[in-house]
Structures are given as structure tokens and as C-alpha cells.
């Protein structure tokens, strides 16, 4: 599947969405009512990705997220348990998992499938796999695949799992999207493969033959220091793309790695190595033209 455009929308953690609402007006005339930060992030990212160009009425939306509507879920729990009150209807409705992809589909005027999916640590990679399968089965002819998450305050906890310091990584709000089509004409690159391996050795063996040249190597936050050494051995001479230090981290940051790669690099391959919650290795290989 070919990447026709991409976006990498990130910003420092914000308490209100007023600023983003103003920014969104640059991309669309539609006024979005009753939305929250998660929905706003989704809209910002997807509209930056499509650059105001029309989307097919049957385009599919795959919104990958680790945490979903985190802020509104917190609001609803606060209203019920702390204030002992009814939850506000807008907050309650927006806690439903597919609300953001509904707003995205509505704003793009697409009637195709719209799916929100989450898979511990590797939600964006799983969304790419799903889109790839749907393209292969001819179920879709265009897809918007995004990784969206609000900033959370537990970055240290994530790093502690890998005994790593997070002092050089800032937490950000993020919404990064790819516009995918089966046609190569006009594409900026392609997603070559997304593979999962139980063992690092098998992943390293596979990548030696699968990565193109010149190659850029990027790591998800859960890739252990020991595994990083193995990846470097498997791809000697690979240039490293430390997007987490450069841009920041949010929970579907694999989307940031891949989107930013297409925005920044041309004529290269990207190998993004990440780790599932149960310790499997997931590798995404892309190529920019």
C-alpha cells in the first residue's frame, strides 16, 4: 500500500482546546461542536494530512489509540464518583470509543468503514496491518490511518520498565496520519511490511533481507537497550532516527515515527522496531521515494 500524504501533528500538553479550534479553522469551514481534546487532535492530524484535497466517499478511517478519550473518561469518573452527580452528556457520549473516528469520517464526508482500534503498545502497527488486509481483499480503495493519543503523565513509568532514563524525552499530544491508496502514481512512498516476531534473532535475520538501502532505523520506546544493539548489528551502517528525542513521545508514537519519516526523508527505507506488551517484536518497514 502506498503513502500519498502524511501528517505529524504534535504539541505540548494543553488544558483547553480553544487554540486548536482556531487552528482547525485553517483547514475546514465546518464548526465542530461538543468535541473534546481527543477528537480535536484526531481532526487536526487528519486535516493536516489530506491538505484540503478531496477524499473518496468510500475512504476508510482507522484510528489507532492506546488510551482513547482519556480526558473525558476522567471527567465522567470525576462527575460520578467525586461530585456524586450525573455525568455531563457530552462528556459521556465522547467516552465511547468510536466517537473520534465518527467525527473524522463526518468531516471528510466519507461513508466508508470507520474503526477505532487499540492493541497494547502497538496500536498503530495493528491498524496498518488491518488496512493492508482490507486493501488486499479489495474491501477498500483509500484509507486514512492515524495514531492519536493525549499526553499522559506517566512517561517515567514507561521508561522505568526498560530501565531507561526519559530525561531527554518530552511528553506531547499527538495525532499523526497516513493517507494510503493501492496506486503507486503520485505516492510519496510505501508501507512494505509489518511483521511480528516472537524472538529477536528471527526478526534480525528477516530484516537483513527485507530492509532496503540506504536504511534509517528507529526504535519504539519499549525496545530494550539489548534489542537495540541487536538491531544495529543486523543493519550495520543504518542511520538512526531518534524521533522520540526530536519530537517527543505519546502513546501511539509509532505513527509519529512513520509519518515524520515520510515528511523528512526521501529515497530511503525506514525500519521501525517496536515491542508488544507481551515482549514480541514488531517491525514496520517503509520506503520513501
Amino acid at each position: 500500500m502506498y503513502v500519498h500524504s502524511s501528517s505529524a501533528f504534535i504539541c505540548d500538553p494543553v488544558d483547553t482546546i480553544d487554540g486548536m479550534k482556531e487552528d482547525l479553522k485553517k483547514y475546514t469551514d465546518y464548526y465542530f461542536r461538543r468535541i473534546n481534546k481527543f477528537i480535536m487532535l484526531s481532526l487536526m492530524g487528519v486535516h493536516q494530512c489530506i491538505h484540503a484535497s478531496p477524499v473518496s466517499p468510500s475512504a476508510a478511517v482507522y484510528l489507532a489509540t492506546e488510551n482513547g478519550n482519556l480526558g473525558d473518561t476522567e471527567n465522567v469518573l470525576e462527575q460520578i464518583y467525586r461530585k456524586n452527580s450525573f455525568p455531563k452528556p457530552f462528556n459521556f457520549i465522547n467516552t465511547m470509543s468510536n466517537t473520534a473516528s465518527f467525527y473524522v469520517a463526518q468531516s471528510l464526508k466519507t461513508l466508508g468503514r470507520s474503526i477505532t482500534l487499540s492493541s497494547k503498545n502497538v496500536s498503530f502497527e495493528r491498524a496498518l496491518e488491518l488496512a493492508k488486509t482490507d486493501f488486499e481483499l479489495n474491501h477498500i480503495t483509500e484509507a486514512l490511518v492515524g495514531g492519536v493519543d493525549e499526553a499522559v503523565a506517566s512517561l517515567d513509568e514507561r521508561c522505568a520498565k526498560n530501565h531507561e532514563s526519559c530525561h531527554n524525552i518530552r511528553m506531547v499530544e499527538g495525532s499523526c496520519w497516513l493517507r494510503l491508496k493501492p496506486e503507486k502514481d503520485g505516492a510519496a512512498g510505501e508501507i512494505i511490511d509489518v511483521r511480528t516476531f516472537a524472538e529477536m534473532k528471527a526478526a534480525a535475520r528477516w530484516i537483513e533481507g527485507a530492509a532496503g538501502s540506504p536504511v534509517t532505523l528507529a526504535f519504539g520506546i519499549f525496545t530494550t537497550p539489548a534489542d537495540r544493539i541487536e538491531w544495529r548489528h543486523a543493519l550495520p551502517g543504518a542511520e538512526e532516527f531518534d524521533y522520540l528525542s526530536g519530537y517527543g513521545y505519546y502513546d501511539t508514537a509509532a505513527a509519529l515515527a512513520i509519518s515524520a519519516f515520510f515528511l523528512r526523508f526521501s529515497g530511503r527505507s525506514l525500519v521501525h522496531a517496536n515491542m508488544t506488551a507481551d515482549g514480541q517484536h514488531i517491525v514496520t518497514v517503509c520506503k520513501s521515494y
Binding site: 464548526y31 461542536r33 461538543r34 461530585k83 452527580s85 450525573f86 455531563k88 452528556p89 457530552f90 457520549i93
Partner: protein
């Protein structure tokens, strides 16, 4: 003084509606007798907005609207809404 005679209260209610219903308008865009709900209304609120407002009214003024019939009657316009919040 009845609520419908108190401009300050009515402006407060207009602002509450704007904030709670996430409307991109100012308080001057809502007339005191404008219909608030339905397709004939200049601001076109719907049943979800009504629920949102009723919970906000409960939180802010301690007033509970118990059924949808009362809700529709109370929130017909800013004047009826203000009279509900302050009947005398």
C-alpha cells in the same frame, strides 16, 4: 424580581448555554424570546443539549428538572428559562 426582568441573569444563562453547548456565538446572538430548540430555532439546540443544560443548571443553581415535558416548557426561550431559575 422575576428572572425574565433581570438582564444580568439572562446574560448569565445565555453564557451558560453557549459554554455548555459549545456554541460559536456571543450572548448578543441569542434573543430573549428566541426559540432555543428545534429546526425553527436560530441556535438549533437538540435533546442532548437540553440534557447538558439541565445538568449544568442542577450543578450551578441546585434546580432539578425532573421530566422532559417540564424541560421543554422551561427551556422554550431565555425568558422562560430565567423565570424558572428565579420565579419571583
Amino acid at each position: 424580581m422575576k428572572g425574565s426582568s433581570d438582564k444580568k441573569l439572562k446574560d448569565e444563562l445565555k453564557q451558560l448555554i453557549i459554554d455548555e453547548c459549545d456554541l460559536d456565538i456571543g450572548i448578543d446572538d441569542i434573543g430573549d424570546d428566541d426559540v432555543l430548540f428545534g429546526s425553527d430555532s436560530p441556535i438549533g439546540l437538540d435533546s442532548v443539549d437540553a440534557l447538558q443544560i439541565s445538568i449544568a443548571v442542577q450543578d450551578k443553581y441546585g434546580l432539578v428538572i425532573t421530566d422532559s415535558k417540564t424541560l421543554r416548557k422551561v427551556m422554550k426561550s431565555i425568558n422562560t428559562f430565567a423565570d424558572f431559575v428565579r420565579p419571583e
